[in-house]
Symmetry: C2
Amino acid sequence: MSEIITYGDYQNLFNLFKSIYPLSNELKVAIVNNSEVIEVNKKVKLLSVGERSHTIYFVVKGAARVYYLNKEGKETNTWFLFENELLISVYSFYTGNPSFEYIETLEDCKLIAVKREKLDEMYLKYMEFNFSGRKLTEFYHMRNEIQANDLRMYSAKERYEHLVERNPALFQRVSLGHIASYLGISQETLSRIRKQK
Amino acid sequence: MSEIITYGDYQNLFNLFKSIYPLSNELKVAIVNNSEVIEVNKKVKLLSVGERSHTIYFVVKGAARVYYLNKEGKETNTWFLFENELLISVYSFYTGNPSFEYIETLEDCKLIAVKREKLDEMYLKYMEFNFSGRKLTEFYHMRNEIQANDLRMYSAKERYEHLVERNPALFQRVSLGHIASYLGISQETLSRIRKQK
DNA sequence: ATAATTTTTTGACTTTTGTCAAAAGTTGGG
DNA sequence: CCCAACTTTTGACAAAAGTCAAAAAATTAT
């Protein structure tokens, strides 16, 4: 019988994988050996515009955002990520092209960092790892689809109300200025919407 | 040496997979045995609101759209799919929950249809199939992300201009009424934007 | 605690986009 | 070739959301 291995910071990541497909001890060891646990202060950029993204992060503790600058130089947040979520610049990480967006921590973070090179090695060596990778990608894809639909289908006010309903905790951890651009509206409009209710 | 198998309608689908990961003859045969080539007239619904999506389609020939009805009962198109693209209702197919959107053909279509049950069997039996599935999901995920960013970041006019630039062919095959809701604007606004230029 | 910084709100005004109704243009069968 | 159905455009007006500037409130550092 194989020993039960618990790697502290990796426990939640392993649980996530295990909930999708059985995780062998060999693959667990590979994941640990091919990754790094890092601590990053808040307001630190993990990726800047023009850089190529080589790393995917799993958030053990903390929060981060993905954003870019529009033509007028204003920040537009596209994603907020918290504990037990995967943090990447989708476009740059998948294509290897220079990023048009930033990744920045919102709070002090503990992250598990995996280089794309190592990840690709694991995907080739442990074919069943692609099963989990596929399922996780499907899940994030779905979240994206819902996000795009909301932007098309609903007014500023409705989008705000849905967000409050679906993710009230977000408002505890992220400033309204950040949330406004995520909702695709100006900060002033968000402030007025909140007053109305 | 193994025979070269060419299955007519499957050729482009196989080429797509082959461009991602080597495709064994065994898997080719499984794909053919677990799918169906169907012909569907235009304006036919492949999925309706409330139904659970059990099928993923590969478009051999023709065009289709994914859309839903907003509160006022107006159609909002979220996606147009053409030759060599995969056609699904992301939410319903991935979760198995009832769909909130419709899939409808825009032209007479030839499609390769795969039931989720069969697809899942293949994902379990041929682990390397998950490699291709993962890569394809990553690609569609990326397209989605770009779409959501465009909706947040750009004005109606800019979104129109980007679409003309990136996908001029779309305007040859899809009516402006359909394209308007895809861009998240009213048909009248689209008409006025086009006149300006 | 206080000053400095950052975030949020408010007011006045402008711009963008939507709505409704009708006209014009286009397309496809019979 | 012509009618019916559908698509696109136009006009007048309304509603939604943005902008700029400043005030108020909250947070952080000293």
